[in-house]
Amino acid sequence: MAILKLTDVHISYGNIKAVKGINLEINKGEIVTLIGSNGAGKTTTMNTITGLLKPFKGKIEFKGRDITGKNTSEIVKLGISLAPEGRQVFPRMTVIENLELGGYTRTKSQIIETLGEVFDLFPRLRERKYQEAGTLSGGEQQMLAIGRAMMARPELLLLDEPSMGLAPIIVELVLKAIKKINKLGTTILLVEQNARMALMTADRGYLLETGKIVMAANADILLHSDKIIKAYLGENKED
């Protein structure tokens, strides 16, 4: 059964239509990726799932329950967390304060429990516990953003461009962590511009172009599709 289901979702900014009727389904336990170029509507879709934006048409269901137009705080409580584009950590708060805020909807003992799991996943964060988040490197901030989203113990974790601006070696580390989080039982929706990287991590993928889904298939099929290779992966392997 689908944990998240988008049916004919339309989203606009004023008169500009950013997303024009997308259908999307994520099953429990999957890693699904949404790829596409700048302005395709990926982040808009993510922000709408979490309730930061409201669709003007269409329906969003989470675990069979209609969540269209609900407030972000309610959606977080239901079990969806987003690690937003550009990390968006709280710069003048320490790593541990950032993580505690991630568990804002939960009890103290639950927070302490999940805190240990996050530190095991990202030992670097444990070392920098009392450091202000604004002084962390880009990669560390990304780990913090993902860790913070995990603190709510979501059933569905949304990751928006986790590889953005990171060195290849850090990207690899972050990807490994994403797979690990998935193995531990969290369903993941990954948005990426780096299509190769996303498709190599995910089970299935959707290709979004100017607000419409133009392809939907298993990740390895997309990875070998001519259209995607030409437009998003490039002819040579150097990406």
Partner: protein
């Protein structure tokens, strides 16, 4: 003489600081200057006076009622004049002008309901005084100063340590990310307005007690001074509001004592202008830096 002026300055400065906190907190959370804050201060002082003299309540009951009602007024101001604009993503300037409108409305409301003449604020605290290093310090001064400091220190602890305080800081630093944590931003904004406005009521009432008079315009200059204090200390930074408030109070008291009482306001604002030229982010303000 210097010590005496210092004491007078610290007394008044602590009330500026208490008012400045309201500007600073709202600025931190909403990114706009709430120009109705000065009028809220006036309403706070008037409410205490009315409960005490017209309705004959016990002074502390009157004070407490005023604190609560003024806090609720703050929430109401946000709901009526700012929330609808926020919902429609109106530009910040629109919200700012809206708060100026509220300010004019409140000031006139006070004049219509209670008259525009100066009212006598009765003597509530026995004004005995102690002598210290040749300066005359009244018990009222000690009370005002210590109450302001206790309130501000507790507010700081609350913001640093408690769950609500952390949610407030998170909202101030990145409201979108705060929402993603499951924080109800509108509740945080309401709490912010409640706290800022009730502190303004405390400040207004104390200044009323101190000078033993109030009129519908007291909030105008007090509001400007407190705003200057918030900017001087670094707007959005709470310890900055305290440092800024006390500095402005002391500077103007010393200017009044050594130069001429007529210069006190001019000197206070001149210091602000100088300060902003040297360090635009204020005494304790931090330059925003963003990692890309």
């Amino acid at each position: 003489m210097l010590f005496q002026q210092l004491i007078n300055g610290l007394t008044l400065g602590s009330t500026y600081a208490l008012t400045a906190v309201g500007y600073s907190m709202v600025f931190g959370i909403l990114g706009l200057v709430n120009f109705s804050h000065g009028s809220v201060y006036t309403v706070g002082a008037f409410l205490t006076l009315i409960f005490f003299t017209a309705l004959k309540f016990n002074f502390f009951v009157s004070f407490l009622l005023s604190i609560i009602l003024t806090g609720l007024l703050g929430i109401l101001i946000d709901r009526i004049s700012l929330y609808p604009l926020r919902k429609r993503n109106a530009p910040k300037v629109t919200s700012l002008i809206s708060t100026i409108g509220v300010s004019i409305f409140l000031q006139n409301l006070i004049m219509i309901t209670w008259g525009s003449e100066t009212k006598k604020f009765p003597l509530v605290i026995n004004r005995g005084s102690i002598n210290l290093f040749g300066a005359n310090i009244s018990t009222l001064q000690i009370m005002i100063f210590s109450m302001c400091i206790v309130l501000m220190v507790s507010l700081n602890i609350m913001i640093q340590k408690t769950r609500v305080g952390k949610a407030m800081r998170a909202t101030a630093q990145n409201s979108k990310a705060a929402m993603l944590m499951g924080i109800n931003i509108n509740a945080i904004i309401m709490i912010t307005f409640f706290m800022g406005s009730s502190l303004a009521s405390v400040a207004g009432t104390m200044v009323g007690m101190y000078y033993q008079t109030i009129d519908p315009y007291i909030g105008y200059m007090a509001g400007l001074k407190a705003f200057a204090a918030a900017v001087l200390g670094g707007i959005g930074v709470l310890p900055g509001a305290i440092v800024g408030g006390l500095s402005i109070g002391v500077i103007e008291a010393i200017a009044a004592g050594y130069l001429n009482a007529g210069y006190r306001d001019a000197i206070a604002f001149a210091v602000l202008v100088l300060m902003l030229i040297v360090k635009p982010s204020g005494l304790l303000g931090k330059q925003a830096s963003k990692k890309v």
